[in-house]
Amino acid sequence: MKILVCISNVPDTTTKITFTSDNTQFNTAGVQYIVNPYDEIALSRAIELCEGGKGTVTVINVGESSTEPTIRKALAIGADDAVRVNAVPRDAYFVAYQIAQYAKANDYDMILCGRESIDYNGSQVAAMIGEFLDIPSISIIKKLDMDGNTATIEREIEGGKEVVTVTGKFVASCAEGTAEPKIPNMRGIMSARTKPLQVIEAEQIDELSKVSKFETPAPRGSVKLIPADNAGELINLLHTEAKVI
């Protein structure tokens, strides 16, 4: 079994999000980058599925050379090898196209993504790869088991879950529950330095969307404190002032 895991390089979750150039650029000054947390989950499940020589895990990233520390981190967690498509990830359409081209040429059985990247939050790449490859895609999964060539998958739906099976190649985007994120150990970190990381050039394709401006949410006014023994006042304010009940 050959599994391809798509890794995006995103600002650490504690990052304070600010913008420059008249709010058109994300301010990267001082930002630490990490493996997108959901991609860590996807990668961890891929590694579990391949344990005991049952397969190999390749990680792929569409990004510039600055993403290599993040790719090495994925190798340290336990991926066997890595590919970087050397390009600025312009939009999900562009990224998915690059990954689909690579996956097609190298015949992967399964492609795993995270449910969304925590920067632009598109939830787009996984299903787009599915469409480019004309194979099933299952979005926002929380459980994935393999039995031979057939996967049994639980996906999230409003207020519950749906269990589906799929036989043959597929793409899935992973959320919490799919696996416990693995933490790299010393051996992993050492071996990551020498594991293969192949750099390939991107194929030409136009992006279909671009961010023209960012906004930050309007700050809230200061909190109105209500004495602990006066819960009635809270209900009153929610009704008459906030008008939410």
């Binding site: 895609s137 926002i140 279909l208 401006k213 109105k224 009635g232 906030a242």
Partner: protein, 322 residues
């Protein structure tokens, strides 16, 4: 040119988020001086389909074949794209639900359309077709411009109200061909708690954190939620410890929500938690620590022990309702 909206049914019914998507799509159609068509897949009674007319749908294509009774991402996306072609629609709108998130990207690729996922406002057309959407897990918004001729927009729940706009509506059966290879995912089981409000759609959410000490103390959270017709949620450590299911976890790595009212009980307000909830319209925080960071982003706060405060809030709410 026209606008197409996909109306997702659950057990033959449309939820509020569908009417929001229809209202939103109708507003776009009006701005573009064109009509709104809906496409429905699955077994939905005509009476329910006709409801869509109230919100501005002049025609609904109803796809009700045995093959498509259950959601298969690949096949549904193909059908919606076919409907768009048939109606000559250059804008496709759908709700950014769990299923919508799986469909929108496939439809976009089929139509070579730029995609906005998580739209929160109507498009503007000055200097290009642009839509405001959430980004950085609710820490910011991105105004995204689509450069393609066709466009797909997935609207966030609770971002655009339901707006009545009655027009006369016709229902038309639509039976596009579906490739066998598009049907290779098989639904085995659907488990849905029908008696509970689902979190992404909820207008009010009551949420508990580690301050509640253990799963046995969630009774009062649920009681408060029931009284408010609210969904329940929790912080990440709570679901990590299996006090509550993962599907209730909100925040940067959980579900991002924007209800009208979010009540946080015993939650400190870590940046990753706030990321997913800070776009709630009104925030109430109950925490015994006056220095808890959550108070900085709250509208109303009670400093006190949850085990004393929450029962009092429940009592006051019962009195208010009586």
């Amino acid at each position: 040119m026209s606008v197409l909206v996909y109306v997702e049914q659950v057990d033959g019914k449309f939820k509020k988020s569908v009417y929001e998507a229809v209202s939103y799509a109708k507003a776009i159609a009006d701005n573009q001086n064109t009509n709104l068509t809906a496409v429905s897949i699955g077994n939905v009674a005509d009476s329910e389909l006709n409801e869509l007319g109230k919100y501005g749908t002049s025609k609904v294509l109803s796809v009700n074949t045995d093959q498509l009774k259950q959601f298969v991402n690949q096949a549904y996306a193909a059908v919606i794209a076919e409907a768009a072609k048939k109606e000559n629609a250059d804008i496709v709108v759908l709700s950014n639900s769990f299923s919508g998130k799986g469909l929108a990207p496939r439809i976009a690729v089929k139509l070579k359309a730029g995609l906005i996922d998580g739209a929160v406002e109507l498009p503007t057309t000055e200097g290009g077709f642009s839509v405001k959407k959430t980004a950085f897990s609710g820490k910011a918004f991105a105004i995204t411009t689509l450069t393609s001729a066709n466009k797909v927009i997935a609207l966030n729940p609770n971002a655009f109200g339901v707006k009545e706009n009655p027009v006369s509506i016709s229902v038309e059966a639509f039976t596009p061909e579906v490739k066998a290879t598009d049907l290779s995912t098989i639904v085995k089981e659907i488990v849905r708690a029908t008696n509970k409000v689902s979190l992404p759609d909820a207008e009010i959410v009551v949420s508990g954190g580690r301050g509640l000490k253990g799963p046995e103390n969630w009774g009062m959270v649920e009681e408060l939620a029931d009284l408010l017709g609210a969904a329940t949620a929790c912080s990440k450590p709570v679901s990590d410890a299996d006090w509550r299911p993962h599907s209730e976890h909100v925040g940067q790595t959980g579900i991002a929500i924007s209800p009208n009212l979010y009540i946080a009980i015993g939650i400190s307000g870590a940046i990753q938690h706030l990321a997913g909830v800070s776009s709630s319209k009104v925030i109430v925080v109950i925490n015994k620590d006056p220095e808890a960071p959550f108070f900085k982003v709250a509208d109303y706060g009670i400093v006190g022990d949850a085990f004393e405060v929450v029962p009092k809030v429940i009592e006051a709410l019962k009195a208010y309702k009586a």
